[in-house]
């Protein structure tokens, strides 16, 4: 059976798995965005906490993905929960780092001007610092997403959702004539998901960047 026929015959399960893949990546990156921004703001505000926060998030990215997925099985069992936790941890570093860089690049005189206008620290953060740092933060989110889309394939090994299952099925039937179609379907599907996310972030960047700095 050639690959095209295979795709047509399996359009429904494949798109379901692609959807699962998108959902699990979306949830993980969403959690990582909130957590990473919070850690980034903390690291930006406190020079004392900055080295440990950056070092720990860099260390997380060094840990082999299969090991990180496996480590949460004793606590969370098999399936989606250990996958999401591991993916969130992987997504942290680019978001934290870019939040620190983005906030650090905000012109101090702008902040002083805002203060002179009578803005409190909370409003200064929400209306001045965050919008100015946002494009850099968003670039970090985009990098995280690319990393996580690929690593999510390995989540199938801990019974996680997504297109990794397709690859894993092919892997289990190495040598059979279906193996290539399965692996190719899963792999190319993940590339498509990655490109879709990238297009989404390009659009999001245009929509959410403050008009003054576009």
């Amino acid at each position: 059976m050639d690959f095209y026929e295979y795709l047509v015959d399996n359009a429904e399960p494949l798109s379901q798995e692609a959807l699962d893949h998108i959902v699990v990546v979306g949830i993980s990156v969403g959690i990582a965005l909130v957590l990473g921004c919070a850690l980034g703001v903390l690291a930006h505000r406190s020079p004392r906490l900055r080295p440990p926060i950056l070092a720990v998030s860099a260390t997380l990215l060094t840990i082999p993905s299969l090991a990180l997925f496996a480590m949460f099985i004793p606590l969370l069992g098999l399936g989606t929960p250990p996958a999401v936790v591991a993916l969130v941890l992987y997504a942290l570093l680019p978001i934290v780092r870019n939040t620190v860089v983005g906030l650090g690049s905000v012109d101090q005189s702008v902040l002083r001007a805002a203060r002179g206008m009578g803005m409190g620290s909370w409003r200064r953060f929400l209306r001045i610092e965050l919008p100015l740092a946002w494009p850099v933060v968003l670039t970090g989110v985009r990098v995280s997403t690319q990393v996580v889309v690929g690593i999510a394939a390995i989540a199938a090994l801990v019974n996680g959702p997504g297109l990794g299952n397709e690859i894993f099925r092919g892997l289990r039937s190495l040598g059979s004539p279906f193996a290539l179609n399965l692996v190719l379907g899963g792999t190319l599907g993940i590339v498509v998901v990655a490109l879709l996310f990238d297009a989404f972030f390009i659009a999001l960047r245009r929509l959410t960047t403050a008009r003054g700095i576009r």
Binding site: P64, A67, L78, V149, G150
Partner: protein
Amino acid sequence: MAVDVMAAPVEHSRRRVLRWLGMPLLLAVVGISLYAYVSTQELDTIERRVLNAPGLTDRVIEHLQLAGLSTLVVIAIAVPLGILATRRGARFVAPVVLILGNLGQAIPSLGLITLVVLLAGVGFKSIVFGLVAYSALPILRNTMVGLQQVDQTLVKSARGMGMSAWQTLTRVELPLAVPVILAGVRTALIINIGTATLSTFFGVQALGYVIFQGIQLDRTPVLIVGAVMASGLALLVDYLAGVVEELLTPRGL
């Protein structure tokens, strides 16, 4: 202000000590706790079949062989390619390589290696081949970026002093690009250590074997030993690579 000036070097040196000793200490603590944890467990026969000193040593050796060999092959392929792509006359290649490379990044490691194994067969060589394909980009990119950011006036003055193109490359451009290239090598090495855990699905029993046995046999001690050892190995190699990086960087940079 005076207090700041006095305090700064102390703070600095303390941070340096922490930077160089922090990771070995952490790994030692993790290693000892892992050993203590396993010693308190009553291992059944299945667990003992995986968790024994000679077996685990073999797993670590296989893992290091896979990652080490593939990193050496990647360096041998990607550094010369990166140099070629930045030579005059071939500069148009650089943006093409970068775009292709960025697209290639979207390919998942598991899928790429499985495809390579499907085409080349199960075994050590195919896995090395897959690892090389997956980790080529960071070194290629960093070699190109490292060479491109060398100040062109330096290159011109080297040529003006009568150095040949080859001498300029080996004595001016490459030494100046070394830090960036080394950063790429370190990234590739860590990618290879991480991805080598997947080799268990393709007939090579590295540390991923221990992890996956733990999952399949539902044996938590096996799983934890595999996961912690694989993580510890990655962190240790990353740490050592950092030390080597520092030592190999030319003085003056």
